[in-house]
């Protein structure tokens, strides 16, 4: 290569390529190259090209659209798509076949676009659903939140069911920052506990209305204190006397094994699950009722659970005992806090 280049540069450019930064020598070289290769084609080339074009099928809008799509020519495809629309809608001269092809391609394109859009939206929704819980967990202990939601519904995933029961948890979360759920509970809250900002406030009000339920659970505490915790708040929220007690009856059998598992939080979801299994119809009603109750007695239902966590240290067991009927885990924590305030 280099050996070939030497004569070219020496003869034509006089070595200017090596020294100067001016591109003009290259420009001159290219112009000379173009002049040296200014050839004319054979006469039969025109005939040959024209014949090849003649053999091509007519460039109808559907064909042009397909050609553009196959060639990844977005502009051409869009232009052809517009031509297809015009052909189908307003071009009376177009043949029936062409119009049918246009309609088919338009429909296929729209369906494909709709499918892609739906897939994208579904994927995005799935992604948000996966990332959502993670984002919520940081503010409050994850286990308690998860446990609270399943208790009413019985199963974790179902969002619709969880909504009713979960309300307490969100309220607890929101209580720290926002205030939609809290407003009901917060007004009375007198900030009994200094450490916990919002949740504590919510907890404080609870005792006021709940005093009556508190005594009822107290007698049951016989079983382990662990089991006591959660049930307290949940039954109260739903229906203190009727629904709450039946649930504990079912759980006890299951609770037997649970005590072995030390963590209360983990047990809570189980307990909640069991009652739902045994009495699914009752629970929904109970869950539904809580909200109206919440309005009337917001603190009782929601707050106990939310406040439980912070207050556990105060006097968890006493509160748990009444709750012990219902559940072990997280509720025990929250209930503890509420009752402790009392």
């Amino acid at each position: 290569m280099s050996q070939r280049a030497e004569p070219m540069h020496e003869t034509l450019l006089g070595g200017r390529l090596r020294t100067g930064g001016d591109p003009r020598p290259i420009s001159e070289l290219l112009e000379r190259y173009a002049a040296a290769t200014a050839v004319t084609p054979r006469p039969d080339l025109v005939t040959r090209v024209a014949a090849s074009l003649r053999d091509q099928p007519e460039a109808t809008p559907p064909r042009r659209y397909l050609w553009a799509v196959l060639a990844w020519d977005v502009r051409g495809a869009s232009v052809a798509f517009g031509a297809m629309l015009r052909t189908f809608a307003a071009d009376a001269r177009a043949g029936t076949a062409v119009r049918a092809q246009s309609l088919a391609l338009i429909g296929a394109t729209l369906l494909l676009g709709a499918a892609l859009a739906a897939g994208g939206v579904a994927g995005l929704a799935e992604l948000l659903r996966r990332t959502g819980p993670d984002a919520l967990t940081p503010p409050l202990p994850a286990p308690s939140l998860l446990a609270a939601s399943p208790t009413p519904t019985g199963t974790e995933p179902s969002p619709g069911t969880s909504a009713a029961v979960v309300v307490p948890v969100p309220s607890a979360i929101a209580s720290q920052g926002p205030g939609l759920p809290d407003p009901t509970a917060s007004p009375p809250a007198g900030s009994p506990l200094p450490g916990a900002s919002a949740p504590l406030a919510t907890a404080a009000p609870v005792p006021g209305p709940t005093p009556s339920p508190a005594p009822t659970p107290a007698p049951t505490p016989a079983p382990t204190p662990e089991a006591i915790a959660t049930p307290g708040p949940t039954p109260r929220a739903t229906e203190p006397p009727a629904t709450a007690r039946p649930q504990p009856t079912d759980p006890p059998a299951t609770q037997g094994p649970r005590p072995t598992a030390t963590p209360r939080e983990t047990r809570e979801p189980d307990e909640t699950d069991e009652p739902t299994e045994t009495e699914p119809p009752e629970e929904p009603a109970a869950t539904e009722k809580p909200r109206p109750d919440r309005t009337s007695e917001p603190d009782e239902t929601d707050q106990p659970e939310a406040t439980d966590e912070p207050h556990e240290t105060d006097e968890p067991e006493p509160t748990e005992e009444p709750d012990g009927d219902g559940g072990h885990g997280s509720d025990g924590h929250g209930g503890d806090g509420a009752w402790a305030v009392w």
Binding site: M8, R18, L30, A34, A35, V39, T40, L45, W67, D73
Partner: protein, 185 residues
């Protein structure tokens, strides 16, 4: 050469309009292909493919100017793709001695220095241009091998005149360095 203005009949697939376009633009397209490929047979095939591609993608033509710049751009793409298919431009020009002679007279256009370019020099120029990165290769090819003006290149590529000039200058600069490396010392 007289410019054949774009005719709306081309978009509609009018056979006569396409026939006129082929008769009018085939020499220009063939020359461009030949300067890139260096072989008559390859250039003829590339010319035919250029018109077929234009026929299929007539929808992508803006239609606001002469068709020559649009056809030349298609021809350069087709020719560079063809050249890349061989993987080795040297292999394409290996038979330069046999095919490099123009098929029919009309050589040089009166340039006295045109005859001084040997087949080896032509091959080196083609190789140097082929090694240019885009968009410099496209601009240099359209300007010198396609014989388009700056305005025509800007119109065909959808870029501004200043952008085309800058890219052309940088392309020539790169080409100068590329050619300089071929010279020892």
């Amino acid at each position: 050469m007289e410019e054949l203005p774009f005719n709306g009949d081309l978009a509609g697939g009018d056979r006569e309009a396409w026939q006129r376009l082929v008769e009018h633009e085939t020499p220009t397209v063939f020359r461009t292909c030949y300067r890139i490929l260096g072989r008559v047979e390859e250039a003829e095939d590339a010319t035919q493919e250029t018109f077929l591609a234009a026929y299929r993608s007539i929808g992508s033509f803006r239609g606001d100017g002469p068709a020559r710049a649009w056809l030349t751009r298609i021809a350069t793409r087709e020719s560079w793709q063809r050249a890349a298919r061989y993987r080795k431009l040297s292999a394409i020009s290996s038979s330069l001695d046999n095919d490099d002679t123009p098929p029919l007279g009309d050589q040089g256009g009166g340039d006295p220095l045109g005859d001084t370019l040997s087949a080896e020099a032509r091959e080196q120029i083609r190789q140097a241009v082929a090694r240019l990165p885009e968009p410099y290769r496209e601009v240099v090819t359209l300007r010198y091998l396609g014989e388009l003006s700056i305005a025509e290149i800007a119109e065909a590529t959808g870029r501004r005149d200043g952008t085309v000039k800058a890219q052309l200058h940088r392309g020539l600069e790169r080409l100068r360095r590329e050619m300089a490396t071929l010279v020892p010392g």
